[in-house]
Subunit: 226 residues, 2 copies
Amino acid sequence: MSKLLIVDDEQRIRSMIHKYAEFEGHTCKEAEDGMEAIKQCQTNTFDLIIMDVMMPNLDGFSACKKIKEEQDVPVIMLSARGEEYDKIHGFEIGVDDYVVKPFSPKELMMRIQAVLKRVQTVKPQDSSVFRYNALKVDFSARLVYIENERIEMTPKEYALLAYFIKNKDIALSREQLIQDVWGYDFIGDDRTLDTHIKLLRKCLREYSVMIVTVRGMGYRFETAIK
Amino acid sequence: MSKLLIVDDEQRIRSMIHKYAEFEGHTCKEAEDGMEAIKQCQTNTFDLIIMDVMMPNLDGFSACKKIKEEQDVPVIMLSARGEEYDKIHGFEIGVDDYVVKPFSPKELMMRIQAVLKRVQTVKPQDSSVFRYNALKVDFSARLVYIENERIEMTPKEYALLAYFIKNKDIALSREQLIQDVWGYDFIGDDRTLDTHIKLLRKCLREYSVMIVTVRGMGYRFETAIK
DNA sequence: AAGCGTGTGAACAATATGTGAAATTTCCAT
DNA sequence: ATGGAAATTTCACATATTGTTCACACGCTT
């Protein structure tokens, strides 16, 4: 069950793929040209992109290249028969597979499965990365990104965020936070935690709303916000 | 070891699944149509639902859809051979797996294990949740919902509700409530408790009737209403 | 209808949290 | 070691939210 982005200027094609992919248990979003695809990729995280080569505004190759510059996501390209040049060009910029129009839905689904499987085995679910829309936290690199822009964080801010992510969607008491992020022996001012929450919120920008105040108790890091 | 709900109009099928599932270490409840399944889900929390498509009163898909609206529980659908439409329709509304009748018990058990495993790896910690019809209290997130709408509550309101739920269907004296929710040393006005009961009732909307006044004594939170 | 217990709205009191700035500590390069 | 920058903490105060009181309305029960 993966999250796919379907990019094609023909509504009919999009719907067809969408339907079949959903039947296979995937969730899909659509975009009707390369520009829109790029935009979608900046606010969503997809497991796979299925993209037509020929599109108005921005063609598939340019869009693919742009997207691949920002994140490592597998791409399946769709194109009209006999465009040999396309195929070569495509693999050069890292297209993962190539399906020639017209294709049977079943064939496309098989290709999708194959690509997803290949990708998953190559990098076995690196849970060392947390993603929420354009917010990305790479725990192994200790780096935080928003829209691919690196966010500078102090050790405390990062520790607090990491703890929140580890305990997302759970109401955490002030005591628990202090104890687990600062250490059992911290004897400090009441306002210290608030201050760090404030600083972390500043770092998180539009994602600051994910830190929800639970009055009389503490805070909760929510991943159900839209 | 999970809690399953088996929904099928045929007693014979229910028993068969029940027996095998119990042998595998699960505990089961049964329902003989969609309506009953929905009702069961409102007062119980299941780890997995096994449901027939064809049933009197309310078919499997409608029931599944309704249940999925209220909670996120995995569903395995059972159906007669050759109903391809069913399969597509099922995946659309989020059915987790699909077993065609007649099936071997062993196959079903394997599917059950597979779905449970998949679900458990996705969300490891099962939060403690109280449900009563469309009223839902998630204690770990410290959130209250009615019909999936989040209800804002002040700390006192929430504490009072939590205490009521912990002691549901028990008449609680005013003294006991004050002592346990406020703390042994609270010396306050008689009307303070009433006021908070009033506020909590307002939060609970149509479920306010669950707080029953026990005249001359205190209150009782009833789960046998409606 | 009287009397007691409960419901209710509004005013007010108490608390909890947010915030900026300054003080203090820690860290690091020299 | 030491100066300076960065990080952390403190603190005073602003703001927001919640809790309590109280007067009176309401409604059972006898």
